[in-house]
């Protein structure tokens, strides 16, 4: 007997919003032409693209000409970091970033270091919150060109002190990139950043659309060979139907964001409380209060993360893990490592608009038995 599937990995990819599906199908009909050309079909495509840009810009509170669509959130993050460093190369070659950035930002940082630049990683505390004093000192140092901070941890949900970090950057005259992939469409992002990126499939849009916002006056230079599309910020023909669907769904989720956050945050609180109370030897990680409304992470002592994921999958639950055995590199999550919390037996649960209270209750009812069975099999009961 196979259990009803319960998808709890919205932080990786959120199920397609109905508005996105509708917009996608409509745009396949009349959004296939190149919006840069001078004929009727192209003008229709241009109208769709302009409307999508205006809608997304309105949600983010920016000017439409500050916003470009990219082929993914990852490429938006790469472009944000490498373009921010390129635009400020005369100021210096140092990138400051938190220790808990998404791998897209860290990989861009590695590229920068391989090219002879420097990267300074700023630590977080046990709850996964940025050390603001260390950050302020780091961005004030000579030769700092650019800084990058995730709006909220994609692995443990801790919301970062973006406003304080942005103020420190402003004092030092250093532009700040905020990777807002887990926040856009769910919670407001404080102002003060110069570059912001997001990813449509995190809010219920299709995969293959990212947002790159560069505020007016920011010294940012495209890291790619020249291309006139998207204000020269991102090369290549856009997947226009996906862009239209991304913008339409962003407007829809932003309109419901406050209500959704009010519905999901108590479910996350319930998971945090019940897992801690009903699963022995578990560490619930991340800030208990300053956190995203839809994401919760915990680690089960003596349990193999991969075995736990498979056991949950057999009962119909789709979740993610930061344990080393579940990663292709066999390294533990750099986020859990930076926080100094248990990395094995790790589970990240992330909720979305289709997640019901009954789904969460079924997960909470089954989890203690699943963990107990795995511990019994491994012979670690009573340790």
């Amino acid at each position: 007997m196979s259990a009803t599937p319960v998808y709890l990995d919205a932080a990786t990819a959120t199920p397609l919003h109905p508005v996105a599906r509708q917009a996608l199908l409509a745009a396949f009909e009349d959004g296939w032409a190149d919006p840069g050309k001078l004929y009727t079909q192209a003008r229709r495509a241009r109208q769709l693209l302009d409307a999508a840009r205006a809608a997304a810009a309105e949600v983010l509170g920016v000017r439409p000409d500050e916003l470009s669509f990219t082929p993914s959130g990852t490429m938006a993050a790469h472009a944000a970091v490498l373009g921010g460093l390129a635009g400020r190369r005369r100021a210096g070659r140092t990138l400051v970033h938190s220790a808990i950035e998404h791998s897209a930002v860290l990989h861009a940082a590695e590229r920068h270091v391989a090219d002879g630049g420097d990267a300074v990683s700023v630590p977080v505390d046990r709850l996964g919150r940025l050390d603001v004093d260390a950050w302020s000192a780091a961005v004030r140092a000579p030769g700092v060109a650019f800084a990058a901070l995730i709006s909220a941890s994609h692995e443990v949900g801790t919301v970062q002190p973006v406003a304080e970090a942005a103020a420190a950057c402003a004092d030092a005259g250093v532009p700040l990139h905020v990777d807002a992939a887990q926040s856009v469409g769910r919670v407001p992002v404080p102002a003060g950043w110069s570059v912001l990126t997001a990813s449509a499939h995190k809010w219920g849009g299709p995969a293959g659309v990212g947002l790159l916002v560069v505020r007016k006056g920011t010294r940012w230079e495209s890291p790619y060979p020249a291309d006139e599309r998207e204000s020269g910020r991102t090369p290549g023909a856009l997947n226009l139907p996906a862009v239209v669907a991304a913008a339409a769904s962003l407007r829809a989720v932003a309109a419901d964001a406050a209500a959704e956050a009010a519905r999901l945050a108590p479910l996350v609180d319930r998971i945090r409380a019940r897992v801690a109370a009903e699963v022995p030897d578990v560490e619930v990680v991340g800030d208990p209060e300053r956190r995203l409304p839809h994401l919760v992470t915990f680690s089960c002592l003596y349990v193999d993360g991969e075995a736990l994921l498979h056991a949950l999958d057999r009962r119909g639950f789709a979740v993610s893990s930061g344990s080393s055995c579940t990663s292709s590199t066999l390294r533990p999550s750099h986020v859990l490592e930076a926080m100094g919390v248990l990395s094995h037996g790790n589970v990240r649960v992330s909720l979305h608009r289709e997640t019901s209270e009954a789904d969460v209750e079924r997960f909470l009812a089954e989890l203690p038995g699943i963990v107990a069975d795995l511990r019994a099999e491994a012979g670690v009961v009573g340790l």
């Binding site: 003596y302 490592e337 248990l342 990395s343 094995h344 340790l383």
Partner: protein
């Protein structure tokens, strides 16, 4: 110097943590056990286990046998 060495090289987490959790309570309070573990997760998980169990994480050293972690039984 440690009083005892647990060789967990080649073992994936959580096995090195399980090994120290099994052995430490069998030894007198104050004993220091050195865990040899080459799984990078051990660097995170052995200190985290000490914190969760109220045992003392003495420190990490890298010797000829690779990374090692010293743990003292406190109770």
């Amino acid at each position: 110097m440690p009083d005892e060495v647990l060789d967990c090289r080649g073992q994936r987490c959580p096995l090195p943590v399980i090994a120290v959790a099994r052995r430490l309570p069998e030894l007198p309070v104050g004993t220091v056990v050195r865990v040899l573990a080459d799984d990078p997760a051990a660097a995170v998980d052995i200190p985290a286990w000490c914190r969760m169990r109220g045992q003392e994480f003495v420190g990490q050293i890298t010797g000829p046998d690779g990374p090692a972690y010293d743990v003292r039984r406190r109770h």
